[in-house]
């Protein structure tokens, strides 16, 4: 596409870097912004910039946060004895939207996969082990994707955590063929309720 203005070209290029946005959609957005009042557009860009510059990750659970501790970790009504282990903040959002879980989270930041160059030390596993040791954690709910990488990570963590702590996982059949975030709220809520001991998923070999 050829525009008479380099400013427009740059803006279209910027939008089209977003996932799922092609040049045509990007142009539509740019033309829409062009019609808006100047201050509305600066509000728009400021909020994006603020988000990126000021976002923090919770010191406890590594969820996104505006402060040192996230909105979930500061809530005193949350059951601190239960930690739900997830791969990324997308799963926190998915599980929160079921309104069926009242414990805390721990965001790992990925799954063990040598093919992707990710080993245990690249994930927030030590932080989890420490957290479980230092707090009154009674149950660790593993909510990782039902893939080989998810299973490997689950196995690895089960070997690091104090064996007296109950480790459970979401019942399978959930999130079939895909990721947790695609499961609808009802199914996700059900699988949270029907969680099973980890031994049903990870075979103990020793």
């Amino acid at each position: 596409m050829n525009f008479s203005s380099k400013l427009i070209t740059d803006a279209v290029d910027a939008f089209s870097q977003l996932p799922g946005i092609g040049k045509k959609s990007a142009l539509r957005m740019v033309l829409h912004l062009l019609k808006q009042e100047e201050n509305m557009v600066s509000q728009f860009t400021n909020s994006i910039q603020d988000m990126r510059m000021n976002i923090k990750f919770c010191n406890e659970c590594f969820n996104v946060s505006d402060h040192d501790l996230c909105g979930i970790c500061v809530q005193s009504s949350r059951r601190a004895s239960s930690i739900c282990l997830v791969e990324s903040i997308r799963e926190v959002i998915a599980i929160e939207s079921t309104q069926q879980y009242n414990g805390l989270y721990h965001v790992l930041g990925g799954l063990i996969s040598p093919l992707d160059g990710i080993g245990p030390s690249d994930l927030r596993i030590n932080e989890l082990v420490k957290r479980v040791e230092e707090n009154d954690t009674q149950e660790l709910i593993v909510a990782l994707s039902p893939t080989l990488e998810g299973d490997t990570t689950t196995y690895y963590i089960s070997k690091q955590i104090d064996p007296t702590i109950k480790i459970t996982t979401l019942s399978r059949g959930v999130a079939f063929g895909g990721e947790l975030e695609y499961a609808d709220e009802m199914t996700l809520a059900k699988s949270l309720e029907n969680r099973v001991p980890i031994t049903q998923v990870v075979k103990n070999d020793d």
């Binding site: 093919l115 080989l148 196995y155 690895y156």
Partner: protein, 352 residues
Amino acid sequence: MLSKLFLYHFKNYTEASFDFSQPICCFYGPNGAGKTNILDAIYYLSFTKSYFSSFDHQVIQKDQKGMYTKGIFDKTQIDCIIRENGKKEVSANGKQYERYANHIGKYPAVIIAPDDIDLINGYSDTRRRFIDILLCQLKPTYLSHLVDYNKYLAQRNALLKSSKSKAIDSVVHNHYKTELCRLGTLIYQERKEIIEELTPLAQKFYSQIANNKEKISISYKSQLSEGAMHDLLDQVQEKDFATMRTNVGIHKDDLQFEINSYQAKNHSSQGQKKSFLFAIKFAEFALLKKDLGNSPILLLDDIFEKLDVERSQHLVNLITELDTQVFITDTHKGRLTNAFEGHNNVQFESIK
């Protein structure tokens, strides 16, 4: 029986439909007309993937983004769709399958194509693929075991490669080894059993096609026959780290074909090899029929080409005796009408 086939944007077909009223259907026409593509479409309905193309997008007509294939098998309509976004859907009477594995084996098929002679002449991966295709149809769990094995293998090999730059985590490594052994042993058992069943059947068909008393054998060559996979892996651990890949396992399996105790690959004539190929494929057919209780569709691509008259005639006799639905392609109508002379349950379709 497949009574109707409809293709839309499948390979060279913009839109085409076929009605099959006879158990044997012969497609004739010039090379490049798309005869093989019809067989591939039927294969696709059976396996939810192409026999000839490795990737799904390759079955879509040039310059198109999706495709649709429909088949009526008795009273069931099977639809295979690739949507414009690349998503694939397979359904039976409008009900979409959650797993393709639940469909594979319901409408079994056996295909014989010219390049299949690689089964005798080619590398071991061709022979493993043959066994895998057979077992996928017989055991729904086989495919998932195989897929998982290959994924663990790739992860372990990546881990071995990473050992060059950093120490590898032994917990992760042991997990990969344990899973490889568990899945590898399951796959080994399945392959071993099926190959033992295959040999006597193949012998029967070989004698019928070649019309002689030559003895054939199919033997399973696997490192796992020498010991438990866990021990074998321990023995080669040092080598695995040095070469940065996994040196033992069912991914190294092979089949050995012999005629009168001589390796068919190096010591047989073209005619013997062809007879052997047909014998193996018909043995596959017989096994599927016995275990599934459902007669597989035979897809025969250009089989009479370069086959001597005598073998051709034995082959036709065999095909007509099998009492199943057969699709055959050939460049020459005359060759087909001659071959099936005297049989009245044959349908001829011209493909231009």
